[in-house]
Structure formats: structure tokens, C-alpha cells
Amino acid sequence: MSVNAPSRARPRGRRRQALLGWLYATPTAVFVVALFAVPLLLVVQMSGSRWPLLTGNRGVNFPDNFTKAVNHRFFTDSVLFTIKYTVLATVLLLVLGLGLALLVQESSRWNNLLRASFLIPSALGLASASLLFYVFYSPYASPLKSLMDAWGFTFLGTPNAALFSTTFLIVWRYAGFYMVLMLVGLQGIPADVFEAARSDGATRWQIFTKVTLPLLRPTLALTTVLCVTGSLLAFEQFYILTKGGPDNSTITVVQLIYQVAFQGQNDLGVAGAISVIVLVALVLINAVQLRAFRSEES
């Protein structure tokens, strides 16, 4: 008894502490459960049930929705297109973001003006930006109409034109954002490292490849993960600009989910199944990316 006495007082204190900890964590936990866990479970439930949009849940039918999803006539096309778009957008955005960051990093008189002008498009919502470009690209209302007429091309008329026009919108909208991320990374590199390299007689190119890039790795990892995830989930820009056209050539995976759910098939079950497939793919892709960056680091 007497041996146990001191140890009894300790757990009580610990328990109180634990209780307090739970209390502190509750608000976050409530939000995570309500806004993340519950919707996620709902999607998983949908993917395993017959669930027409207009009539609601009709009971379990696993795994029908998944076979239907994979056999959907646009499933393969949309996956391939999404990957193509992701590679294009990621390469362009990262290269441009880094380039712009290097450009504005050097303190000069135009510095602030340049930073602001690159960043302004980021202040516009993606949907608003897409609408802006919808008019800009429209062969009917565009200010470039006479040019389009003279050269006989349209921005959204052919599959490739539609892809490049949409990518241009995304680059315009996000390059400033990635520039800022890169800038933060660049400024995190201590100045004496550059000084040392310079006094060792390294050229600008050598400094960039041997000093800047390796030290920028954490930033590059962050931006790559952000950009790849964002591009794989592309929706608004294509929904507004191309609606998956012309001739179903620009359907992204998320757009396919939307079309299956709300535009015709109206089947939330199959849409949920595609969502689950996308979710699993995203988790895997991000795990691989993070591991790749980490292993190079060590």
C-alpha cells in the first residue's frame, strides 16, 4: 500500500494532463472528423453502394461501381490526359517559378514592381480567371478575334490548342505563387555559402547547379508535391474553358467524376468509386514523391 501511494498520485496528474491535452485537441479533432473523416467515409460508402443522384442510397452493390468505373468509356482517356496535363503543368510551373524567383531575387529598382506583377494573378480565384480567359479565348467575343480570323485558328478548337491554352491560363495564374515559394526557399540559403563558392572561383552556372539547387531541395519537394497534386485534381479550368471538349479530348479525372455524378449518368456510386481510385492513387504518388526527395537528401 505504502509503496503504491506515490505512484498513485502521479497517474492522477498524468491523467489530468492527458485530459487537458484531449481538451486542447478537441476543436481540431471535431473539424477533422466533421469536414474530413465523415465526407471521406461517405464517399467510401457511396462507392460501395447503388446510389443514383435523384433517389439516394439503394443498398450495397460492391464491387459493381468499381468495375463500371474502370470500364467507363472515358476512364482510360481521362487518366492519360490528366497525366499528360500534370507533367506539362508541373514542368512549366516549376521552371518558370524558379526562373522568376531568381530574376526578382537580385535586389534592384524594379524588384517590387516585378514581384507584384507576377503575384497579382494569384489574387484572382481560379474560376474567375478561367471565366476571364473564356472570354479572351472565345472566337466570338475575344479582343483577339480579328487576329484569330486572319490566322484561321482558335484557342480551344483543337485538342492540342485547348490543352495549351488551358495550360497557359494555369501558368499565368500560378507562376507567381510558385515564384514566392521558391523565393522563400532561396532566401533561406545562407549568403556565406554563395560567398564561399564565389571566392573559390565557381561560375554562375556552377553555383546554380552545385549550391542553389541542392540547398533548395526541400522547397523543390514541397512545390513538386503541391503542383502534381493540384494538377492531378484539375477541374475548374477545364470545366469552364473546354467542358472536356473538343470531342472529349480534355476530360480530366475529376471532370469525369463530375460528369458521371451530375451530367447525364447521375450515378453517385460510380462517381464515388472513381473518387476512391483517385484518392488511393494520390496517396501512392505523394508517398513515392516524398520518399524520392528524402532518399536523395540522406
Binding site: 433517389t55 472515358f74 482558335t154 467542358k243 476530360i251 460528369q259 447525364g264
Partner: protein, 434 residues
Amino acid sequence: MRRALGRRTALRAMASALVATLALGVAACGGDDDKGTGTGAAEAGPNGVDDGSELTLWTRAPLEKQANLLVNAYNTSHKNKVKLTVVPNDDYVAKVGAAAGSGGLPDLFAADIVYVPNWVNQGLFQDLSTNINGLPFKDSINKGHLSAGTVDGKPHVLPFVLDLSMLFWNKKLFKDAGLDPEKAPATLEDYAAAAKKVQAMKKPGVYGTAAGLNCGGCLVFTWFPSIWASGGDVLSDDGKDAKLADPAAQKVYSTWQDLWKSGAVLPSSESETGPTWTAAFTEGKVGLMLYPATLLSSTPFDAGVAGIPGPGGGASTFVGGDGIGVSKDSKKAAQAWNFLSWMMSEDAQVEVLAKNKDVVSRSDLANNKYAAADPRLVTINEVAGKGDTPVAMNFQQAFNAPNSPWLTLVRNQVLKGGGDLQKENGEITAVLKQ
């Protein structure tokens, strides 16, 4: 609110309560939508209840003008107040679907008539058979709309706004091109010839014709009538087989393919997904076009109107537009019926719709004073009788969806001048059969 009730309304409410008790006593009413609350539409009498309730109504953007006119006229003359929500065309199904799943549908909502068969079947609308069958003019209500909303012989939906596809031509451009501005092209071939003639003027920014070539709904609306006009059919009677590879349809595609190749079609038509498909004609930059009759009042110049011709002649129209009904979630069905019964009355049909140069949904009111003043309205009303409304369960997926097989078929046939027509028609049938 209660205190403000007029004596007449109170009497009417008492009467409806009496009717309700009687109906319950007889138990003749088999409507499972009436949850015994006494506010079912069937018990509310022929005019429903006007007791100052607030009703909600949803419609889609293309019919905003007509919906606003109707709602404003109703609100100024009734105690009930209708609150109108206009939803962009592309988002309408998603919004209704989400609301239907969560039991949050408005009291009244309109639906594109081609979706009505499916939505009625899914139980989104209350059974209005007692009320509609009680209307003295039931037989003169537009048949296409009424039958689209009828399941097991029970009508659920009334025509909200009729939208007919018609051949519109710009009289001034016709005159400039040396065509008779008072004479409509009688066949689809004449239509193509007229478009080429307008194009041949080489006026900057002016084109022969235009179409929504990346908009399945627009193409259904404007090209099906050409097939009907030449005696063809687009669907089997049960709505499960597509007949869009038949000779009549082929003739329509080849005419348009020729028009497209000749450069007489507005170039932006190729990528037109719907939002601006009528804009160029409204601005007077297109010679002639298959165009929605609801836009007659917003067409600022002198335009001629005729039925849509087919290859070799004939005239037909797509009786489109929206049907409206009381939603499954409405707790104010009696008040909602008050709006619907007013909407079908001569007051609303003639003094609101016809006055705005819209088509009335009752054939007995077709020859009203406004129609007499504008012969184009007489033409539209006449062609309305020859028109058709296709009925199919999976209409949206087969035709209207952005990735519909119908759109693939038309784009292959017209823009690319190729494709396997039988296979593409088979794809449509496959979707219709699902």
C-alpha cells in the same frame, strides 16, 4: 400572418379542410405523397390556397425572362409570394439532384421537358392527377409536355414555358443578299442555299448561319425537327432505340456538312458549348438560323419566323421548354397548386406569356389578341401543333451531356465528314437502354 387572413381566405381554408376530411373519409385518394397533413394539393380545390404563404420556385437561366414575368404577375395579384431562384443551365441538374437527395427541394421547380420523364419516374414530383384532371381545359393543354410528365396515367407536371425551335431569318440580310425577305426557305436545301447566298456577300463579320455544334442540347432542339419534317423519326416509341442513322437523319447531316465545308457557318459554332449559341443571330450578324422562339421578344430587328423544314420540305418544331410541378418535399402543395392553376389561367397565358410574344401552352388560347397583332406568333402557334417532344429515360446522358454519344455522332458526321454512323447510333441506343 394568421391575423392578416381575409375572411374569404378563411372561408376557403375551411372549405378545403372540409374537403380534406371528406376525402379522408372516403379514402378514395390513393396518393401516397399526401402525408395526411391536410395541405395536399388534391384536397385544396380547383384553385388551391392563397393564404399569404411564401413559396419557393427554381428554374434554369434560359427561361429567366418568362419566369420573372410570371412570378412578378403572380406576386402582385396574390397573397402568396413566390420566391424565384434562377440557376445556371449547366448546374441545374446537380442542384436539383443534391436537393432531392437531402429532401431540400423547393415547393415548385421547373425541369427541362426532356428530363421530366426521368424525374417524374424517380418520384421528384407530387401526383397532381386530381387537380389536373379537374381542369375544364385539360384537353387543350400542350400534349407533349403533359404526356412527358405522366406516369401510369397520372399527370405530375404542367407546361411552365414552351420553347419551340423555329427557323428565324434576318430580313435585312436576306434583302441585301438578293433573297425574298418575306419568304421562308421551304426545304433544308433552300435553307443551305440561302445561307450560302448571305455568306457570298462577304460582309465582314456576317455569316450565313450558325449552330451550337458542341452543344448536344442545342443540336437536339434544332436538328430533330428537320428529321421529323421529312417524315423520319429520332427514337423508337418506347424511347429505347435511336434512329439517328436512318436516311432522313443522314440527309440532315450531309446538308450541314456541306454548309460547314462551304464556310457559310459562323466559325465559332465549332466550339460553341451553349452559352452564346444564339448571340450572333441576335446581334444581326447571321442570315438565318434555327433558333428558340422564346427569344422572339429579345430579337431587336425585323426577323421572319417559320417552322423548321426538313430535307425535301415539311415543317416541324421541337416542343421544348420546361415543365413545372410540385416537388416531393413541398409542405405547401395546396398553395403551390394555387400558383399552378393561376399559371394555366387565361390571365397568365394571354396577359403575361402571349403579351411577351411567348407561346401559350393552351391551344384554346392560341388565337388571342396579341397573336392577332403579330402574324409570327400565329405561325409559331400553328407549327407547335405539328411539333414533337421526344420521351426517353436517359435523355440527358444520351443527348445533352457534354460527352454524349449524340455529340460525337454529329461532330464526326458534320465537322470531320466521316465516322461509323451505325456504330455511333448504336452507342446512343446503348445509353438509352441502360
